[in-house]
């Protein structure tokens, strides 16, 4: 499974050779950003202060802004995904991410990783090792999806710095290989 990415003449980021599975994974991002329950809020909106009064103030005044930001990103991703096209090269898909949406996509992919980890009940050690205890199929599926999102973030970061559609800047990423380690 090999995805290609490059920057076009307008500075927009093009993801090419996307499989149907990757497109489906991308389609899940907006719902993940808006998900509630299963510890998702604790992941996406972690505790900020040790002091309870300070934390209550933060939750009251800052949390709504963050929720609004995540909802806005969900809308951006939804809008861009409507432009997914079948690639002329074969049974693949092609997605253009406008340059002004690039940062939103990076953050949306990371948010989706966290929400997915929470929903699947993945513990830190399972995320670190990439191997869930008991080979739980739900966790295995979530881990695979998280790895796709992480790989796409890496790809966007690697390619995004370039501004011309030179074939030299085309990056390929093999989604079966290991990618950037977690920070």
């Amino acid at each position: 499974m090999r995805v290609e990415a490059y920057v076009d003449a307008d500075g927009d980021l093009v993801l090419d050779r996307l499989s149907e599975g990757i497109v489906a994974a991308l389609g899940a991002i907006p719902a993940l950003l808006l998900a509630t329950g299963d510890g998702v809020e604790e992941r996406l909106l972690p505790r900020t202060y040790v002091d309870d009064d300070d934390e209550a103030h933060w939750q009251r005044y800052v949390r709504p802004d963050l929720e609004h930001l995540f909802a806005s990103r969900a809308e951006i991703v939804t809008k861009d995904l409507r432009q997914v096209r079948i690639s002329p090269d074969g049974p693949y898909y092609w997605l253009c991410i406008p340059v002004r949406h690039r940062a939103a996509w990076e953050a949306a992919l990371m948010g989706a990783c966290h929400a997915l980890a929470a929903k699947a009940g993945l513990a830190d050690d399972e995320l670190q090792s990439g191997e869930p205890r008991g080979s739980d199929p739900t966790k295995l599926g979530a881990l695979a999806q998280i790895q796709v999102y992480q790989a796409l973030v890496w790809l966007i970061l690697e390619v995004g710095g370039h501004t011309c559609p030179d074939p030299e800047v085309v990056e390929e990423f093999d989604l079966d290989a290991d990618e950037d380690a977690a920070g």
Binding site: Y49, A103, A107, M110, H114
Partner: protein, 107 residues
């Protein structure tokens, strides 16, 4: 601390009455923005966010990212509380696990 000494003649015109005023000036302590390690976020993403949110150069951003990775946390910024809250909000908005804690006068 400001110390003011003032001498006034007594109303009866005898010896002076000396008063002393001490004013303790306590500057607001800085607040630290702390980023915690998590097993999901790629290192390159963390570095980029530090560069964009704080305007750090790549070397400093990478050093802080590695501190988060190896020590589990790093104080990535310190200063007035209002600015610290704004930075923390931006980091959480990018899905980094960030928190705020009071700093010490030495920081």
């Amino acid at each position: 601390m400001v110390l003011v000494r003032a001498g006034f003649p007594s109303p009866q015109g005898g010896e002076q009455i000396e008063t002393e005023t001490r004013t303790l000036v306590r500057t607001a302590l800085p607040w630290n923005v702390v980023v915690h390690d998590d097993p999901i976020t790629p290192m390159s993403y963390v570095t980029k966010v530090f560069m964009e949110v704080f305007g750090y150069g790549e070397v400093k951003a990478q050093r802080l990212m590695l501190e988060v990775h190896h020590r589990g946390r790093s104080i990535v910024w310190g200063g007035p509380r209002e600015a610290a809250e704004l930075h923390c909000q931006k980091l959480q908005g990018r899905h980094l696990k960030a928190s705020l804690e009071p700093g010490s006068a030495e920081e």
